[in-house]
């Protein structure tokens, strides 16, 4: 029982991080129909910027938090303006390849900026673990879980309850029709990029204190987040959270009851299974359009 609880805590912590990254994928997919493979790099930028601002420049926690999100969002906006919008024939596959290129570029720039070594940052609050029935839970895990819940609730109200959120969805369904109806579709796409980059930054900020951050951390995290998004159903915010948590918990249980060398295998095996049995994901409402 004690072991099981420990695996669960470990899984929930990792799963919540996958969930934030999956939310970034979902956010962009929902409003532009795009999958951004540079999402993991936004996470990396978030983590490293946070470490620099908080530990390096010794800004206060909330200020560093906000500045990091703002900074990474600007990177997202720049990516959209320079690399995505300027494409003459915006076929989805072309745009996806551009995002892969962008991820390689961001990784290179980060290597020059932060060096090749890993960095770490202190925890948000006290670092003594809680004891729950013999298993230990880190305060940072509670922070992560709390922030994820706040984000997904806010996102839910944004897309359902605000005009901007609805306009964004309209753009994804049919950009031209939305434009004819007076929705500034280009601004909406820009906003979606900024928000999904900001979401990636939040993921990075959360992960920085519990793990090590380096310029090349984004790829694995991005793939895991993508798995989680597919698992839950691309385009569904709650699906992203569910997929992330499920992935994290299954990984931890897999390590515990089978073998630790299977850890990454589990994520990708699940992805294949889901794509085969239920291509739309667990909470995905409509069939995912395949290119």
């Amino acid at each position: 029982m004690q072991e099981f609880l420990q695996y669960l805590f470990s899984g929930v912590t990792n799963g919540a991080i996958y969930a934030v990254i999956a939310l970034g994928f979902t956010m962009l997919y929902k409003s532009t129909g795009l999958i951004n493979f540079a999402q993991g790099e936004f996470v990396m930028l978030g983590a490293l910027s946070m470490i620099t601002l908080w530990s390096g420049f010794e800004l206060s926690l909330p200020l560093a938090f906000l500045l990091t999100i703002a900074g990474v969002s600007v990177v997202g906006i720049i990516l959209e303006r320079l690399a995505i919008r300027s494409v003459r024939k915006p076929h989805p596959i072309v745009l996806i390849i551009i995002t892969i290129g962008a991820s390689i570029l961001l990784r290179g720039v980060a290597m020059l900026g932060w060096g090749k070594d890993a960095h770490s940052s202190p925890a948000f609050s006290r670092n003594e673990p809680f004891e729950v029935a013999g298993a230990t839970l880190l305060p940072q895990s509670l922070w992560i879980l709390g922030i994820v819940l706040v984000i997904v609730t806010a996102l839910h109200f944004f897309t359902r309850g605000t005009l901007t959120g609805k306009a964004m969805q309209a753009c994804a369904i049919n950009k031209r029709a939305a434009w004819l109806l007076g929705i500034p579709s280009e601004t909406m796409v820009l906003l979606a990029f900024a928000m999904s980059a900001g979401m990636g930054a939040v993921g990075g900020i959360l992960i920085a204190p519990i793990s090590m951050s380096s310029y090349d951390m984004g790829m694995t995290l991005g793939l895991k987040g993508f798995c989680a998004a597919m698992l839950g159903g691309l385009g569904s915010s709650w699906g992203a959270v569910l997929g992330g948590l499920l992935l994290g918990i299954l990984e931890a249980l897999g390590v515990g009851f089978f073998s630790s060398s299977l850890k990454d295998g589990i994520a990708f095996l699940l992805l294949l299974l889901i794509l085969y049995v239920r291509p739309a994901g667990i909470l995905g409402a409509r069939a995912v359009h395949r290119f």
């Binding site: 072991e3 420990q6 793990s211 380096s214 090349d216 694995t220 850890k263």
Partner: protein, 387 residues
């Protein structure tokens, strides 16, 4: 052909001519300088090895040149980046041999990349001094292949001696899923019985994993008296943090793969009390004055830190030693590779940064027990434990 096409052709031709011109004078000077090839993982995930190695090779070459070179000839380094990729390493080694005409090759940084170019070195009969740790590089002995990094076998033996002295019988091991971790795991399992130790739980982790509590939970349930973690940064720092978070009250041993100040920085408070084997370079100040290697170590550390403005790690020394060993073998060889190889094999008692080298036809690594000391991290510093 369009105007655009023709101008492209002209450009290509001009480039080709330019390249020919720039290469030929070098070929003409080949008699005046000795060229040494370097292949290191300067970028990529193993850059923590390759980057200091490249810098140390340049440092050693400048030092030798400033003392008049070898037999009046200057040394010149041609260094390529392998990015830790075996294919790129083979390409680079081919280029060093056929285009640059180097006398010997120093590197690569990793075991897989070294194994990839061993057939080439053997076929072309070119001395290769690897900076990688894998035992397969020099066992069985290959005539043209030497190495300067300590074997994992020695590191494991150093740890196990310490564990045995503490009277610990049951350990759990946690190794990274790459060549370094696999080799460590192999040795940890193979040597355990010799020291009366039982490995009660063996787990692995991915090089980029962000949380190892699941593996540690599994190890904890097997109730070991100590945990040995085998990996290179940043994974082991995460393990150190997780061990502290889970309140595991058993000693944590790490491998020499984390023996750099970076590990202490990453693990922070969690580094306190961790035990690991390391080359003497990290504790050079604490060595007794009678140690013949103290002056070599201090000289290297001083020069490296002055020139590159960064703290020294244990890894650059592999390339530094390789260059000095090579220089010793090259004296009087007149650039004959066969003579250099024979001379390398005869080097005895060479005090290097990593250890004292005693090569022989049966041993192309040449390091003994003095290559490692056990240290404990105390107050963010390395504290040498008396053997």
């Amino acid at each position: 052909m369009s105007v655009k096409g023709r101008s492209v052709l002209v450009c290509v031709l001009a480039l080709a001519v330019g390249m020919l011109l720039s290469v030929s004078p070098n070929l003409g000077r080949a008699g005046e300088v000795y060229r040494i090839g370097g292949v290191f993982a300067v970028t990529g995930p193993s850059s923590f090895l390759g980057d200091p190695e490249k810098k140390s090779l340049e440092l050693a070459i400048d030092e030798i040149n400033s003392r008049g070179g070898i037999d009046g000839r200057r040394l010149e380094a041609v260094i390529y980046d392998t990015e830790g990729d075996p294919t790129k390493t083979v390409l680079a080694a081919n280029k060093l041999i056929s285009k640059d005409g180097v006398l010997a090759i120093i590197g690569p940084s990793l075991t897989p990349t070294t194994l990839a170019i061993i057939p080439l070195a053997e076929k072309e009969k070119i001395p290769l001094i690897s900076c990688a740790a894998g035992i397969k590089i020099t066992e069985p002995v290959k005539p043209w292949v030497f190495k300067t990094a300590q074997n994992d076998m020695l590191a494991v033996a150093t740890i196990y001696e310490h564990i045995q002295k503490k009277g610990i019988k049951k350990i759990g091991i946690l190794t990274v899923d790459n060549a370094f971790g696999e080799s460590g795991k192999e040795q940890l399992l193979a040597q355990a019985s010799k020291y009366g130790i039982e490995v009660v739980q063996a787990e692995g982790f991915g090089a980029k994993d962000t949380d190892m509590t699941a593996q540690l939970t599994k190890i904890r349930s097997a109730q070991p008296e100590a945990i040995v973690c085998w990996g290179t940064n940043p994974g082991p720092a995460v393990v150190a943090k997780n061990v502290k978070q889970m309140n595991l009250k058993v000693p944590l041993y790490q491998s020499h793969g984390v023996a750099s100040p970076k590990f202490i920085e990453l693990a922070g408070d969690a580094a306190e009390g961790i035990l690991l084997p390391t080359g003497k370079i990290l504790v050079a100040e604490q060595l007794p004055e009678t140690d013949p290697r103290k002056s070599v170590l201090k000289g290297y550390i001083e020069q490296f830190e002055k020139r590159f403005q960064m703290p020294v790690s244990g890894f650059g020394g592999y390339a530094y030693d390789a260059m000095y060993l090579l220089a010793e073998a090259m004296r009087g060889s007149n650039g004959d590779r066969e003579k250099i190889r024979d001379a390398l094999e005869k080097i005895k008692g060479h005090p290097g940064v990593t250890g004292t080298f005693n090569f022989s036809p049966e041993d192309h690594n040449g390091l003994g027990a003095d290559a490692f000391v056990m240290v404990e991290i105390q107050g963010g510093k390395w504290k040498m434990l008396t053997p």
